[in-house]
Symmetry: C2
Subunit: 714 residues, 2 copies
Amino acid sequence: MLTTLPVTPSTSAPTALRILRLATAIAITTTLFGTASTQSRADEGMWLYNQPPAESLRQKYGFEITRDWLEHLQKASVRFMSGGSGSIVSEDGLVLSNHHVGADAIQKLSTAERDLLRDGFQARSTAEELPCKDLELNVLIEIQDVTDRVNAAVPANLPAEQAATARRAVLAEIEQESLQQTGLRSDVVTLFQGGAYHLYRYKRYTDVRLVFAPEQSIAFFGGDPDNFEYPRYCLDVAFFRAYEDGKPAKTPHFLRWSADGAREGELVFVSGHPGRTSRLLTVAELEYLRDRAFPELLDRLFREEVNLLAWSGRNTENARRAKDELLNIQNSRKARLGGLAGLQDPTFFARIASAEADFRRRLADSPDFEAARTAYDRIAAAQKTIGEHALPYRSLEAAWAFRGELFSIARTLLRAGDESPKPSRDRLREFRDSNRTSLELALFSTQPIHADLETVLLADSLTHLTVRFGATHPLVQTVLAGKSPRARAAELVAGTRVGNPDFRRRIYEGGAAAATAAADPMIELARAIDAEARRVRQIMEEQDEIKQQAHAAIAKARFALQGSNSYPDATFTLRLTHGVVKGYSENGQSIPAFTDFAGLYARAEAQGGQPPFDLPGNWIQRRRKLNPDTPFNFVSTVDIIGGNSGSPTVNRAGEFVGIIFDGNLSSLVLDFAFDDVQARALSVDSRGILEALRRIYDARPLVDELTGRRRIRR
Amino acid sequence: MLTTLPVTPSTSAPTALRILRLATAIAITTTLFGTASTQSRADEGMWLYNQPPAESLRQKYGFEITRDWLEHLQKASVRFMSGGSGSIVSEDGLVLSNHHVGADAIQKLSTAERDLLRDGFQARSTAEELPCKDLELNVLIEIQDVTDRVNAAVPANLPAEQAATARRAVLAEIEQESLQQTGLRSDVVTLFQGGAYHLYRYKRYTDVRLVFAPEQSIAFFGGDPDNFEYPRYCLDVAFFRAYEDGKPAKTPHFLRWSADGAREGELVFVSGHPGRTSRLLTVAELEYLRDRAFPELLDRLFREEVNLLAWSGRNTENARRAKDELLNIQNSRKARLGGLAGLQDPTFFARIASAEADFRRRLADSPDFEAARTAYDRIAAAQKTIGEHALPYRSLEAAWAFRGELFSIARTLLRAGDESPKPSRDRLREFRDSNRTSLELALFSTQPIHADLETVLLADSLTHLTVRFGATHPLVQTVLAGKSPRARAAELVAGTRVGNPDFRRRIYEGGAAAATAAADPMIELARAIDAEARRVRQIMEEQDEIKQQAHAAIAKARFALQGSNSYPDATFTLRLTHGVVKGYSENGQSIPAFTDFAGLYARAEAQGGQPPFDLPGNWIQRRRKLNPDTPFNFVSTVDIIGGNSGSPTVNRAGEFVGIIFDGNLSSLVLDFAFDDVQARALSVDSRGILEALRRIYDARPLVDELTGRRRIRR
C-alpha cells in the first residue's frame, strides 16, 4: 500500500488534525537534498509537471509530449489529502482511487451495524451516494516559480532563527496573496530541499461522496502477508464523486477508460503524488535515517501493531474499530523495514556514499562552489542537533506520546485559541488563513471516535513516554499526574469533551478564553506540555532552515556542473513518471507482468480461504460468470513511492489502463535510489476492474458512466 | 500461560540448548533479594518443601500438614525442563501437564502432513505413545541444606572475581559429589538471593512419550486475546508417560483424581515450580527492571511477534512452523506488559519503596547490621555496572542478536570443545559433568529445524544488532562480513551443517579440533564473538556475586529482626502454595469462581467462531453429549507465577481437583508483591477434564487409568 504520510509541520502544508496525526507516523525530521546522480538513467524520475522529461521521452520512446496532453492529465489527477492519489474518470466528477486510500473515509462512514469497510458499498444513484465526513480532494490548476521572491526575502547570513522566521513569513505572504486573488488552495512547495520554491494552486473539493467500494477482503486480498509482494490479486479500488454546490462537479478533464488495457512492453505513465523520497540526502542524513529515524519509528510501529492486534482480538467490534489504523501501521512497518534493509545493505549504502564523495571532489576542484563545499558539514551539524532533540520533538510535538484522535483535537483547539489573534503570517503554519478550510474540515468532522480505542492507544503511548523519559522525569510526572499510564489514559479519555463536535465548535469560536474556561483535562494536558513542544519545534525549524540553505547551495552547484535537467525529491505534489509494463526475475524465478482471476482463486484455495485470503460471498458464488483469463493486476517499471497509491496508469493516448496500488518488496528502496532490475510498481488492470464491476457487482450505472454511455443528471 | 523461562546461565542450572535459548527471553540479569515483608499476610507464599507454612495452615485453616502428605505431593510433582510443571496421575508413570507446557514437545513431533499441535493426538495403547524428541522431566527426591559448606568455601573479603570463582567451584563440587553418590540430577539452588544454598536431588526422566493432547484451539481457546483474562474456557491439558528402561515408569506416588472437584471457598494447594519472582529485590533493582530490563525485553518481543506474524501470514505451513515460538513470544509479551504496568504504577512502587525505607531505618537503629546497611549501595552499584554491560551481554551471551536454534547449537558445539578438557568445576556451568545428560539430550535432539524460519529469525535479530551497535561498529562488521543482515542470515543458515544431528554428534565427540576443522560458518560466527561474549558473562557473574553477598547480609539481618519464617523468591524449584477457590470483582462486576461448558459455547458464538475462538469439529458435533453445567475452569487465590503452568491443584486429601494453566491480568504483578484482592490463579477443573475425555474424545483407556480402573501392562 503506497499511501503516504509525508509531511512534517515545518516543511510542508499539513491540513491540521488528520495529517498532523498521520505525519507523526513518519515525522523523521530531516530535510533533504544531496548527491544522487541527476541525469537519470533508465526510466527514473518523479518529474515536475512544469519540467517534464520531454527530451528523453522523445529519444527513448519517440513520444512527443504536448502541452495539451500534459494539461489534460494534470487536471484529471487528484490528490487525496488523507494521503494518496486518484484520478477523475468521468465528466461528472467521478473520482477513482484505491480502496486503501479511501479506507479512512469509508471507516468513518461505518458503524457496528453497517460495516462498509468489510462489506463494501454501492450507490445505485447519486441520491444514494454517502457524504464523507472530512475528505478533501485537490486538483492542481497551476504552478508558479517563486524562488526568486522567496530568496530575496531571506537575506544571506541571517542567523538561522531569523532566517527561518523570514522564510516562513514570505511563504505565508505568497500563499495568502494567492488565496485572495484566486480563491484556490495555495501552497508554496520547497523543491530540491531549498533549491527552488514553486507555488501550487489547487481546486479544492470538500464535498466528496462515496459511490462504490468493494469488500475489503478482495480490495486487500492477502492482507498484510501479501502486502508489497507480487504476484497479487487485489481489486484495490474505490469510487467517489466530487460535488460542488450540492451537485456533481463538472469535470471536463477526465481519463477515458481503456477497454484494451496495457500490454507487456508498452510505455505507460503514472500521474500522482509521491509523498517523500530521500534520494538527494547527504550521507550524514542517510546515516541518521538508518541509525535513528527508521529504527525508532519501527520500534513504535511494532509496539502499536501488537497493541492493536491484541485489543482487536478480544472481540469483533474492537477489530472493526481498530482496523483502519491497524492497516496503516502494518503498511508503514513493512515499508520501513524494506527501507531499512536497503540502508543497512553495505553495497547499496557504499554506492550512495561514493557518489557523494565523487561530487564533493568535483566541488573541491573548482573555486566557485565554496558554499556548496561547506554545506555538507553544516548539514551534518544540523542533523546532529536534530538527533539531540528528536526524542522530545517526536514525543511532544509529533505527539507520539499522545496517540489517538482526542489529544490532537485538544491541542488544535488550544493552539487555535493562541494562534488566531496573531497576524496570519506569524502563526504556526497549520493555522494560517490559507489553511483555514482544511483545518476546519478536519476539526469539525463528525467521524466516530471510540473511547475504548482511544484509551488503549493513549495508555500504550503514555507507557512508552514513561519508559523513554524515565518514570521520575518531571515531564512524565506532569503528564501522569501521579497516576499509572493506564489509569491516566482512562481518566483523560473519560473526562475530556473534545470528542463532541459541538463542544469543539464552541471552543474554537470562543478562542483562548473558551479553551481556558472549559477546564477540559485533555486540553489542559496539551497546555501543560505546549511550551516545551513549541520550543523543540522551533529548534527543528531552525535546523531545517540551516539544511535548506545548505542544500540550496549544493543544488546550485549541481545545476552548474550537471545541468538543471533533473527532478526534485518527492514532496506529496503532482509528478509525472513513466516506464514499461514488464515482468522480472526473483531468486531465479521468472515473474510474469500480469496476473488474472484464475490466479486469484488458486491463491485463495492454497490458503484454505482463511483470512486474509478469504473471498467475499459474491466472488465465490459468481466465479463462473467471470472470464478467468481477464488480466487483474500488472507490474511496470514506473518510478513510484508512498503517496502514489491510487495514481492512474495511462497509455500514450492518455487513457486509463490501470491504477497504482502498491510496489513490490524490491521497490521499497526507491526511497533512496531508483532501480528497475527488480523494483516494480503494481497496478490494478482497467480490464479487471470493469469485469468485476459487471460480473460480480452488477454495477451497471457505474460501468456505463466509466464507458461514457451514461451522464449524471444534475 | 504460566510457563517460565527463568534461568540465567550464571544463577541457575540450565540444560544447554533449549533452556539457554529460552532463558534469553527474560535474561534480565539482576539477582535478587530485598525488602518485602516476610511475615506473609493472607495466603501469600511460595513455600519451600523443607520449610512449609505448617503453623499458619494450622491456625487459619485448622489443617495439619503431615510429613507423609508432603512427601506424597512432592514426589507426585513434576518439573518440565522446557519451562513448566506437572503431576503424576497414575501409578504407571502417567504425567499431566498443560497443553502449552507440552506444546514445544508436540510441535517437534509434528510435520506438515501431521500437525499434532493443531489436530491433537490420542494413543489408544502404550504402543501408540510417541517418544518426545528431547523432553526432560524431573521429580524432586530430596533437599539438603548446604549453606554452611558453600559459605565456608568463600572466604569473606575476597575480591568479587575470586569469590565468584570460589563459589562456582564449591557448587560444582557439591553437585558432582552428589551425582556420583546417588546418580540423581543434583542442583545447588541459591535461595534468598544468597541467603541460603540447598542441594536439590531429582529423579530424571528422559524417555517421555506423548499420550494425549487435545486440539490447540480448545487447549488455548481464545488465544492471545483471552490469555491472562478471566472468565476462561480452556482444556489446557496434555498427558505424557514417563518411561524407564523402555517401560512405563513405576510411580507409587501419584495423585488420585477427584470426581467431585473443588467448591467455592475450599482450601486448595498448588505444588509446582514457579520460575522467578522479584519480591525481595531492592528498589535499585526494581528501578532497573522498570526502566531498562522490561522495556528492552518488550521491544524485542514486539519486534519478534510482528516478524513471526507477518511471516506466518504468507502461508499455512509457515504458520505451522512458527506457531509454538509465536505463542511463547505473545505470552511473554502480555506477561511483561502486565508487570511493567505494575512497576509504572506510582502507588504500587511507592508501597515497595516505603517498605524498604522502613527496614533500612530499623537497620540504622541497631549497631549489629553494618553489612546489611551498606548492602543497598553495593547492590545499586552492581546494578549500574550490569546496566552498562547489558547490551553486549544480551546481544552476545544471551544471543538476542542470533535468534533461532542453529546459532545456539553452533555455540554449544564450539564451547563443548573448549570446555570439556577442563576439570568439571572450572567449566561454564552448563558444561559440567552434572549437567551432561541434559546437555546431550538437547544437543542431539532430532527436532525439526526449518531453514526458512531460522533465516527469518536470524535476519531480524541481525538487523536489530546493526541498529543497536550501529552499522559501522567493528562487532557488527565482524558479524555481517560485508553483507546486509538479510543476506548474511541467508548465507549462514544455508551454509551451516549444525542442523544435522549426526554432524553435531561428530563434532561433539571430536572436540575442539573437530569444531575447527569443520569450518562451519555458524560455528565460526560463534567463535568470532566468543571472547567478547565470555568477557561480558564474566562481568555479569562478578556483579551477581557482589549482589549475592549483599543480599545474604540483608537476609541475615532480616532473619534476625523478623524471624526466619519466610519464603525465598521463586527459583524454578518445587514450592507449595495455598489459597481458596474464590471469585472476585472487577470494574464493579462480580466474576464467579467457576465457568462451565455452556459458557464456552456462548463465547465461541459471540465471536462468530473465528480463530482463535473456533471450536474443533468434535466439540461442535458432540456438543449435545456434554453436560453444559460441568465446571470447566476456576479461579483461586493461590500464589503462583510463570513456571507454575501445569501444577496440580489439590484438596486437603491431596486429591487432584484441577490443573493450573494461567493467572488473570491482575496476577501479573505477583512478580513483585502478593495480592489477593483481584489477582487469581486459573485452573482447569478435574470434572471438566474427565467430561471432555469421556464425551468428546471417547478416551476410555485414559479415563480408566485416571480413575484407577485400569493398570498398564509392562
